[in-house]
Amino acid sequence: AQSVSQHNHHVILSEAASLELGCNYSYGGTVNLFWYVQYPGQHLQLLLKYFSGDPLVKGIKGFEAEFIKSKFSFNLRKPSVQWSDTAEYFCAATPGVGSNYKLTFGKGTLLTVNP
């Protein structure tokens, strides 16, 4: 069965620290990958997406993610976090071909950034 796993349940950082959140997926074929963010009290927003091409994708608010096919990974990174990055982050995937757009989500990683 298709699945997405996120390694960290809760990450606590100080401002200006670098961030890397792990995400691994298990899909047999091509895959589309996403990172979503949910700020406190707000709805889910799309941070960035990978469909094909350059495996390093850049998203909003200085976030980026790298698709490494050999490792089935799509880790999220940010060089220097801010207090406002405190949120829950979800990795998600969907098959890259066909008409099945159903998203499979990871369990989420809560990021707390201390000022």
Binding site: F34, L44, L46, F90, T94, Y101, K102, L103, T104, F105
Partner: protein
């Protein structure tokens, strides 16, 4: 991206009753989905809302419990029937964008007493 609204934003309901949640999109979309996010959990897909035909349910979800309507390309409803405290969750609708990414509504926070 599409602008998605949901009604109600939150509700507190009694056991055994039903609640209908509305999802409205500001443009016509092909694919609409309903998800559930239980407390402290990730999102789980309930069903795909198909326009003009019955919804397609995921394993573990049935039409009698979660009837869905999709009368046109901008609107859908999800009903949570015969509720129990285990149904307390956030219910979200989503739509696909031009590149098949999904955009989510603000969610409906349901508490069942």
């Amino acid at each position: 991206s599409a602008v998605i609204s949901q009604k109600p934003s939150r509700d507190i309901c009694q056991r055994g009753t039903s609640l209908t949640i509305q999802c409205q999109v500001d443009s016509q979309v092909t694919m609409m989905f309903w998800y559930r996010q239980q407390p402290g959990q990730s999102l789980t897909l309930i069903a795909t809302a198909n326009q003009g035909s019955e919804a397609t349910y995921e394993s573990g979800f049935v039409i009698d419990k979660f009837p869905i309507s999709r009368p046109n390309l901008t609107f859908s409803t999800l009903t949570v029937s015969n509720m129990s405290p285990e149904d307390s969750s956030i219910y979200l609708c989503s739509v696909t964008g031009v590149y098949n990414e999904q955009f989510f509504g603000p969610g409906t926070r349901l508490t069942v007493l």
